[in-house]
């Protein structure tokens, strides 16, 4: 189930969205060697976010873990991990979601505020993942926490907008609230079921944290002036005022 577009017109050029996609691509090509074996694992350990690196007081037996103790970026990993990925599918999937949903969220607040919003959503995602496992030695990478924030904002701003979903070879148009609602339920379920496992995989709680953070942050950062003419803003698609009042029952 992949979103490949939406019925939501883009009003301004989404400079920040394009820049973030570009930075992720640059990181993938130059820091991660396009996913080639050694460079990939080295970059994941170096630039990923390792909660245990920051919070665990227990001794770190390097031999039994993916990354060596102290190999990470420390606190800077909170930011750098947002631009790292684990595979081609990981980065392509994330960038596709950002491409589809990022432009309209950027439209709602402007490019500068969107850059701040994106980083803060990423922080929310990291915080949620760290809280779920502060002693974890597993490096966390990926833009999906911050993109979860973009999706949280999208569901708040444009719940009724139709998202085009590619399912096998068929394209379905479903309201954003259904598609993103389904997605967040999957993340919560995944998060709960992953609590008993110790292995790596999807950072479900980062997705949930980013999503919730984004849904709240958008209320603070959105600019009503920018949204005022947006045809799909919120549940109410205001008719042209003159239309409303020209209905005979509304006339004096």
């Amino acid at each position: 189930m992949l979103p490949i577009g939406d019925d939501n017109p883009q009003i301004n050029k989404p400079i920040t969205t394009y820049t973030i996609i570009g930075l992720n691509a640059l990181a993938w090509f130059f820091l991660q060697g396009m996913g080639s074996g050694e460079q990939l694992s080295a970059s994941v350990c170096q630039y990923g976010l390792i909660p245990a690196d920051l919070f665990s007081s227990s001794l770190w037996n390097s031999d039994s873990h993916v990354c060596r103790a102290g190999s990470g970026f420390g606190w800077a990993g909170v930011i750098s991990s947002m631009f790292m990925h684990g595979s081609w599918a990981h980065i392509l999937g994330n960038m596709l979601f950002l491409w589809v949903f990022g432009d309209n969220v950027e439209d709602s607040m402007g490019s500068m505020r969107f850059a701040i919003f994106y980083l803060l959503s990423g922080l929310c995602a990291s915080a949620a993942q760290i809280i779920s496992g502060p002693d974890s030695y597993l490096p966390m990478v990926g833009a999906s926490g911050a993109i979860g924030g973009v999706m949280g904002a999208y569901i708040v701003l444009y719940p009724r907008v139709k998202v085009h979903l590619l399912v096998f070879i068929m394209i379905f148009k479903v309201p954003a609230i259904a598609m993103l609602g389904y997605w967040i339920v999957l993340q919560v379920v995944g998060g709960i079921s992953s609590m008993s496992s110790t292995g790596g995989g999807v950072a479900f709680w980062a997705h949930v944290g980013g999503f919730v953070g984004g849904a709240i942050l958008v209320l603070i950062l959105k600019d009503d002036e920018l949204l005022v003419k947006h045809p799909h803003h919120g549940w109410h698609a205001y008719k042209d005022p003159a239309d409303i009042w020209n209905d005979p029952p509304n006339r004096q």
């Binding site: 209320l219 603070i220 950062l221 959105k222 009503d224 002036e225 005022v228 003419k229 109410h236 205001y238 005022p241 409303i244 009042w245 020209n246 509304n250 006339r251 004096q252």
Partner: protein, 274 residues
Amino acid sequence: MPELRAMCLGDLSKVLKIIHTHDEDDAEAAESDYQEEGFENQFVLEVDDKVIGVTGYTEVPATDATCWLSWTYLDKTFRGQGLGKGMVKDLLDKLHSRNCRKLFVKVSDYEDPEDGKIYQTAYKMYESLGFKEEVVSLDFYDEGENQHILGLSLSDFFHYDAEEEIEIIDEKPVIRFDGLHEIAETEGAYTFTWIVKDSKKLFGKRNFTVLDLKIGLESVKNNGGRKIFLTFPSNLPLIHDPLQKAGFKYVGCLADYYEQGVDEFHFTHDLTNI
């Protein structure tokens, strides 16, 4: 030779006398207006050192050079000679030189049991000058006495090009009602006063809702009011939903009232189902 000159305190008693011969209530209302507002932009028409007419204008704050015509009356004994029309034309010249963009006038259609439609002559005179009827508020002054608002673009009257229409951006200010009062010169017609609050993004003040409107409607009903009239600029998209849900009806709009492209919408509620 008739001459339009600035009004001063010495003219007040003569002016009030002229208005009184037409409408006693208007004379009373005019007196309090002159006391409160003074004589700025008020003029008298003099023929052979005798004051025979009064006119003037008030500028509307927070608009782009929009004006209302003030008390405009002509001594009854001088009617039918084109003096009233000439007086308003002279006033239009003054307004033109002071860059007024649009002039509005309110006219009642009151029918006196003895004298008939006492404002009909004035209404026709305004029409002959090019004023166009823009809004009619039914039962405004009292049951059966409507208010007609006529507007004149000075660009039309003096045949010059109006300012180019600029793109009007809708605005979403936080509007809250902060009072209600009976409209002057009316019997039981009320309006709400409103203010714009600072918008606070996080736990912000919200625009007025249908509940706010209902509180106001009930207060007016309890005060013995008959009707409510509200006006808003045309570029506020958030006002329409609550107004419509509270049962307000659209009366019409004064075109280009605030500025070129921003009209003044008029709404009314007759308190049914309250």
